[in-house]
């Protein structure tokens, strides 16, 4: 069979009928599972109208929850950017006994159910914890839970980039007299930056929606430790599903814009490679 040249294929390509059938089936599944339910949230919020949404979001307790969520998620993303990069560095460039086990354990927060994560943290940092500190029902506890569940993101996005990074470039820089920190800042950091940003962005998106790990250890005290998802939960429980939908839409908008931004960052990172 003589095949037409690729450029011709691109220009003349007609979408095959079986492809349309496949796209239809995929869209149907996605619609039933994801899109229709999310549309219901948007619909219920839209029915309220912008003014009412604003009233819900700016009511003192909801605003406090949203603020806490935003600030703690930002802080968690920042801490992960630093510590996650250090952990990735140690896992790639350092050698020590037990490294394989440590490397495997990084994935544990992805595999451990969030409610169990919350309980484990409470067992150590709650009342009668082994370390003698009691963080239960404080904002520090909220941070701790968020740091636990978001641990893998930056490590796992920086690790492969660090592995591919040519060591010769660093060695050349040091042999030309650049010191460790300078080499890191001028040579290593720029190549890692897209990976760090995308890992931090993913941790932010995960942290702002997190529920299970926070619910036991934070105590869910309004104005103090109640985060936005827990606030939504409280609104649902009290039968105010319209208010819950309004706050849910705000949360969805925040995480969608972060992920959209990340898509651009990734494209920018890929351009850097070429």
């Amino acid at each position: 069979m003589a095949r037409p040249a690729p450029s011709q294929v691109l220009r003349r390509r007609k979408v095959r009928r079986s492809t349309w059938l496949g796209v239809g089936l995929v869209t149907l599944y996605l619609s039933v599972i994801v899109l229709i339910p999310l549309a219901a949230v948007a619909w219920h919020a839209a029915e309220l109208g912008p003014a009412a949404i604003w009233r819900v979001v700016s009511s003192p307790d909801t605003r406090a929850a949203l603020q806490l969520s935003l600030f703690s998620s930002l802080a968690v993303a920042a801490i992960n950017a630093v510590v996650g990069t250090i952990i990735a560095w140690v896992l790639v460039r350092d050698t020590f006994p037990g490294k394989t086990i440590v490397n495997a354990l990084i994935d544990l927060p992805f595999a451990l159910p969030t409610i169990v994560a919350g309980l484990t943290l409470l067992a150590l940092y709650g009342p009668k914890g082994a370390l003698g500190v009691n963080l239960a029902y404080t904002r520090a506890a909220v941070m701790l839970a968020l740091l636990f569940v978001t641990l893998p993101f930056v490590v796992r996005s920086v690790q492969p980039v660090l592995m591919e990074l040519e060591k010769d470039v660093e060695e050349a820089a040091s042999s030309l007299g650049a010191h460790g920190p300078t080499v890191f800042r001028r040579v290593v950091l720029p190549s890692l930056l897209p990976a760090i940003v995308s890992g931090a962005g993913l941790s932010f998106a995960r942290a702002i929606g997190e529920f299970g790990s926070v619910v036991l250890i934070s105590g869910n005290i309004p104005f103090k430790t109640q985060i936005a998802p827990v606030r939504i939960f409280a609104l649902i429980e009290s039968g105010d599903s319209a208010g819950a939908a309004a706050l849910a839409v705000v949360l969805l908008l925040i995480s969608f814009s972060v992920l959209l931004l990340l898509a651009f960052v990734q494209r920018w990172g890929r351009k850097g490679d070429e």
Partner: protein, 280 residues
């Protein structure tokens, strides 16, 4: 432990030995405080009062029912998402159609949605006042506070994993072998089972592991739509919270331990099966 060894050191790297140990300590102390010690603590706390209360909590009918329900939901959600994931990945890698990038973005949407919002969204469709609520009530079908909504919530949150793992594998293997099979007269179905599926087996397995982990461990979305009826709609994660709220710490820790052991097995499987580019 390499202090006794002499190793080739790059010219500028000599002064960095101290910083290397420094970074290593920061990383390990952080991991110990946030990950290893808390998880270890649960093992310790569970067996604090000996084995007897643990066995008792394990044989409690509510715990057993919760375990059964968790496995049942995963047994429905994981195969559905696996078939969907492989099908969708094949479509996105091997076919051309307008709106592909948009579809690819849509697949990732569940990653960006809070579990609480997932639960809320299902209530707004299937709940008493939801879009389909009236019709469902007339026909006597229970979705919310029953198994169907818990399955739907689990499918929602674990949807993207198989697609995300299979797409890069499919891109890498290309289409030559499939074309060869086609030329030799194989039907598309035969080609899929004999050529394509064996070639993407690694990616599918890895995706299935991630999907299973998420399906077994989902709490927020499931707890909202389940109504938390003990002994009826409690999954193992919901059971952990319920036991904790009832001040039955042994019960909460025991169920947590079961889930933690499953998680450790999953992490082990992930390490063994990890796609190659991350390991070399």
């Amino acid at each position: 432990m390499s202090s006794g060894r002499t190793e080739p050191v790059a010219p500028g790297a000599r002064g960095s030995r101290a910083s290397r140990y420094g970074l290593r300590s920061v990383a390990l102390v952080y991991l110990a405080l946030i990950l290893v010690l808390p998880v270890g603590m649960v093992f310790f706390r569970t067996f604090e009062n000996g084995l007897q209360p643990v066995l008792q909590a394990l044989s409690d009918p509510e715990t057993l029912h919760a375990l059964y329900l968790t496995v049942l939901i995963a047994a429905i959600a994981v195969p559905l998402n696996t078939v969907f994931g492989v099908f969708c990945a094949l479509l996105m890698v091997r076919r051309t159609f307008p709106g592909k990038a948009f579809l690819s973005g849509l697949i990732d949407v569940p990653f960006a949605v809070s579990p609480v919002v997932v639960g809320l969204s299902l209530i707004l469709v299937y709940g008493r006042t939801g879009w389909l609520g009236g019709w469902l009530a007339e026909n006597g079908i229970r979705v919310i506070f029953a198994l169907p909504s818990m399955v739907l919530a689990t499918i929602f949150v674990s949807l993207p994993f198989v697609v995300r793992e299979v797409v890069p594998v499919l891109q890498e293997i290309g289409v030559e072998q499939d074309q060869a099979a086609h030329t030799l007269g194989a039907t598309p179905w035969q080609t899929f089972w004999r050529i394509t599926l064996p070639a993407i087996r690694g990616g599918v397995t890895y995706g299935v592991i991630l999907t299973t982990a998420r399906a077994l461990g989902e709490f927020g979305a499931v707890s909202i739509v389940s109504g938390k009826i003990a002994g009826q709609t409690s999954t193992l994660t919901v059971h952990v919270e319920e036991r904790f709220q009832q001040f039955d710490l042994v019960g909460a820790y025991t169920s947590s331990l079961v889930l933690a052991v499953i998680a450790l097995v999953i992490v082990l499987a992930m390490t063994v099966l990890k796609p190659k580019e991350a390991g070399s």
